[in-house]
Symmetry: C2
Subunit: 429 residues, 2 copies
């Protein structure tokens, strides 16, 4: 924190409290996603908001994504030019998108009389490994960003980019701008990291499915991680993990209505936890089952080692109890990986003497998430009862300390979500 934080009587409890009351003089990292800076009008609207935030006495650091669908356009251009896409060159190409957005944002701020300087990932001190297209941050040395702040200027940093230990331009991957923002907030010891997006916050479930879904004022890191892992689209999971590890308070909010959104923070032990905070669903995966697998030590390890070796991101894994020396192993994989996973698993099934491999693309994973589950048994039972009542068959189950997930038929997912949202008392009154 580079300026004094004056806390309210009860300490910084953000939910519902306006930001000004919370932080009379705060340092805020504000990140704007692609739709938030999608065209010149939007860039000016963001500049207006930043100007308001600054005039309220806050120090602001911006992180911007590429405008609208620009990253997709650049990827298409690469496809049009060549069939080989060396990572170093792809990163050089893609990061041009954020450069444009950050330079234009600075111009819009200058227009409002707010001095601003753009910084590439390299200039902002993002040192990464050499894993192009998906580089990891090794260190953030934000000297130039800090110097700009100290000089009363707004630093505008290009999201999702850095410079590698080989001095090459790197891209942190899709959704990497959230990570840039969180890492910068940590490096600058900022009071909060605000992720401005096209939703108004984190909801108890998808409002398109359940119109009575509520925006949460507050959620814990753990809960949000379980939610993003099971279908809640924003923010990027990696950034939430980074925020939790380094204790960076997040504020997920709208770049269109500018209203207060959802704060993401540590759980407070004395706080009464909702048993279930949210219901999520995810239709991006397919289910695979290897049946008749010999129940010997090391077989499961071999299966998932081979799949990992093929670059397939296996998610939920369930193994049934062994019957007569054989067992079934089921797991989910992204739709995009299904063909490769079927081919890998097919050869493997023959080698290990398994019965066969089947797949089902028409599935959904429905999950309930809540920190209060830790101390409230019976959530799983309630979930299964609710699904049974509306005639939804459960194909797979997996649980964590604060989540219960069921794989169900894809065409029943919305019914399941509606029933769970209602039965766990999440709907608006």
């Amino acid at each position: 924190m580079t300026t004094g934080l004056v806390e309210t009587a009860n300490g910084p409890r953000p939910g519902g409290v306006s930001q000004v009351a919370l932080y009379p003089v705060a340092t805020l990292v504000q990140k704007f996603g692609g739709t938030a800076v999608g065209d010149p009008d939007r860039i000016r609207a963001v500049a207006d908001h930043v100007a308001r935030t600054v005039r309220q006495g806050n120090q602001v650091v911006l992180v911007v994504s590429a405008m609208g669908k620009e990253t997709d356009s650049l990827l298409r251009l690469a496809d049009d030019v060549s069939s080989t896409h060396p990572g170093r060159e792809m990163d050089m190409l893609i990061t041009a998108g954020e450069r444009k957005a950050m330079a234009l944002m600075c111009m819009a701020l200058h227009d409002l009389g707010i001095p601003a300087d753009s910084f590439t990932g390299s200039q902002a001190g993002f040192l990464t490994d050499t894993e192009h297209r998906n580089a990891k941050i090794l260190e953030v040395r934000p000297e130039r960003v800090r110097a700009a702040l100290d000089a009363g200027r707004i630093p505008v940093v290009g999201g999702s980019q850095g410079v590698s230990t080989d001095n090459d331009v790197t891209f942190l991957g899709r959704g990497g701008s959230d990570t840039t923002a969180v890492a910068l907030a940590h490096a600058l010891d900022a009071d909060a990291c605000e992720l401005y997006t096209d939703v108004t916050g984190v909801f108890t479930t998808d409002p398109r499915v359940v119109p009575t879904a509520k925006r949460m004022d507050r959620i814990s890191f753990d809960e949000l991680l379980e939610m993003t892992a099971t279908g809640c689209p924003k923010p990027a999971m990696r950034s939430v993990e980074y925020a939790r590890t380094h204790g960076v308070r997040l504020h997920v909010r709208s770049a269109f209505t500018w209203q207060e959104g959802t704060w993401v923070d540590e759980e407070e032990p004395d706080m009464e936890q909702a048993i279930v905070s949210a219901v999520t669903y995810d239709t991006s995966e397919a289910k695979m089952t290897i049946s008749g697998v010999p129940d010997q030590p090391g077989i499961a390890a071999r299966v998932f080692r081979e799949l990992a070796g093929s670059g397939i991101n296996v998610d939920m894994i369930v193994q049934n109890v062994s019957t007569e020396g054989v067992t079934d192993i089921s797991f989910t994989v992204p739709h995009d990986d299904l063909d490769r996973a079927m081919s890998t698993a097919g050869s493997l099934a023959t080698e290990i003497g398994a019965g066969g491999v089947t797949s089902d693309s028409a599935i959904a994973r429905v999950s309930v998430v809540g920190a209060g589950m830790r101390t409230n048994p019976g959530v799983a039972a309630t979930m299964f009862e609710t699904l049974a009542e509306c005639g939804v068959n459960i194909q797979m189950i997996s649980t964590s300390a604060i989540r219960v997930s069921c794989v169900v038929s894809g065409d029943r997912a919305e019914d399941a979500v509606k029933a769970l949202h209602e039965n766990f008392g999440l709907s608006c009154n």
Copy 2:
């Protein structure tokens, strides 16, 4: 030169000689302009040509401009976003264009099995001053480019960009890619710098006006400088000056037909010089006359100091002999600067007690250029006779050692060019 240059028996005389015969193993900097890399097909066509050049045993370094009209699009985007365009941010924005082109070019080369690495101006070692939008190169430290060459890779460098002494991204200005290429050729001690463009070389005059115009095999730096200063569109004058100063041989040629173009080199004293090499014309300027100027020491200096102070780029200046203590001063200014120049000159005329200021936008400057003029008197006389014969009135005259320019009425410029081209024996047989 990093590899051995084997010269032909008569030494390196490039005109009409194929490049392979000239340089069995040469280091070449090849620069491709915006139209040459205007779309994915063009980028692949350039990659094919580079592959051929490499397979002939040459070492190649590429310099690329932004694709097609991209720089114009970026400038329009800046206008759409804001009315203030700080130079630092404009340079960050505009240089995104070359980044895209160079990354895509590397991908196209990889597709052909040619390893290639892209380098920003900063990565290629272009250190500049802090004059944004029009930065000057202070030094070129091409260590990374040389290392890539030594490793058998093609370096692809973004044109017209560098890093300032303040560690900011800088743009060298429109047409700056030619300068990048020439400076890099000098820093690498390359055998030649090839400027690939949408014309097949330097012509004796504009072939659109005179169909019998000939492409020159060879021209001296001095001649080309006079030509670019008087209307020959390519290459950028600044790059030709740089090449002359540092003795970098240029080859102006087509990125569409790939045929040999025009070599630009030092004059060779033993070479028989054409008296007139080319006829050029330029309609980008307007004529201004301040009449009745008191003929006192310091008045002319004051006029042009004030105009320079207003950022007006005054070109041809003619002052008549004084009659009765007053004189007329005429000069040309770019059309875009005419309004400002008229306003500046108008106030000034009142202050110094001059008669008045007039302007004429419908003029053209027609010039004949040739190194042989130095030793052949009478070129000016022939020019004036030719213009008189076809009834073209001469409004202003200025000369240099190897050039005679006349300002004539704009609607007679093409007639004048045709007659001069014919009379000086430049037309194809």
